[in-house]
Symmetry: C2
Subunit: 189 residues, 2 copies
């Protein structure tokens, strides 16, 4: 999918999201930018998928292109890249900017929950067989700062019948900021 | 803050995010859009806050303008509007489009966690005294669909010393899709 030019477009839209929050440009500049963006949106949607990429994807567009965490066409997604280690654990390194803010200067606790839900799920997924979250518990140990290198990882602890017990965390500079454990399930086909 | 033109700009950027996921325009159109967006981003950031709005906000920009859930300058935020009822409960009605996708056609479970963290926290917050999440537990009852009217609400169940016990849910068509309960705390000043 690397030849999909919308992936680079999404990268530019990510920078635009950040600029929209931080801009101190004069009103005329902001209004002119808005008008130009509306024109571009109309041009881009003259021919477009009828709905979410997960169900309307075509040959050029990956079915996960719109995913809110890993979707490379989705400017909301940081996007995260999951690394599956040989031991089955999953890890990812990332940085979150101004657009992921909750408490001033810090990552929204709910964004940490969003990321951990995805990372724990990724430790369970099997090719062509995604798992779903049954329950997820988050313990917030300390604030997670914006604009710094963050690390998340997850591993399967135990399997009991159809229930898969997983845990993981987000860390910054070697200190855990949020811990998570969850029970994941494979839906009946 | 309604006279802040960047709020309307953020609305246009939200539609652009959706268009970037769904576009089937030819490569030349997509590449040209990207170039124009890069120019706009440069214009908007010639004069800009040095970092997140929460700590760098000025007179025109609300300190929550960049919040990832309610921030009206933040194109990642749906944005949600919290309604504080007379009985102290908090509720919000919203619809999530293609950009919030996890399982095909459905809201990412982690986005439900993000929203519930915020809604439960809103039930605890006091003016000028935000609460922080201690622990949060989510129970996923059924998939949450994209593109339909959703409702979330939360209430305080009990207070024990510095711990505030809160619960809430997301529902669609009267059926609960995700339940949450959490323990919130007021940080020492």
């Amino acid at each position: 999918m690397s030849d999909d030019p919308a992936i680079e477009l999404a990268g530019s839209v990510r920078r635009l999201i950040d600029a929209t929050i931080r801009t101190l440009a004069d009103d005329a500049t902001i209004r002119a930018a808005r008008q130009q963006i509306d024109v571009l949106t109309e041009q881009l949607t003259t021919k477009a998928l009828a709905g979410p990429a997960g169900i309307h994807h075509d040959g050029r567009i990956s079915h996960v292109a719109g995913n809110v965490i890993i979707g490379r066409r989705n400017a909301i997604a940081p996007p995260l890249t999951m690394h599956h280690r040989d031991d089955g654990d999953v890890e990812t390194d990332f940085t979150l900017g101004a657009a992921y803010e909750g408490p001033p200067g810090h990552v929204h606790g709910g964004v940490c929950a969003l990321i951990l839900d995805h990372v724990l799920g990724a430790a369970v997924h099997q090719p062509g067989r995604p798992a779903v979250t049954g329950t997820l518990t988050l313990r917030y140990r300390r604030p997670t700062p914006l604009g710094v290198a963050l690390h998340a990882e997850a591993r399967i602890r135990e399997t009991q019948g159809s229930k898969i017990f997983v845990d993981g965390f987000i860390a910054h500079g070697g200190e855990v900021t949020v811990e998570a454990d969850g029970i994941f399930l494979f839906p009946r086909r």
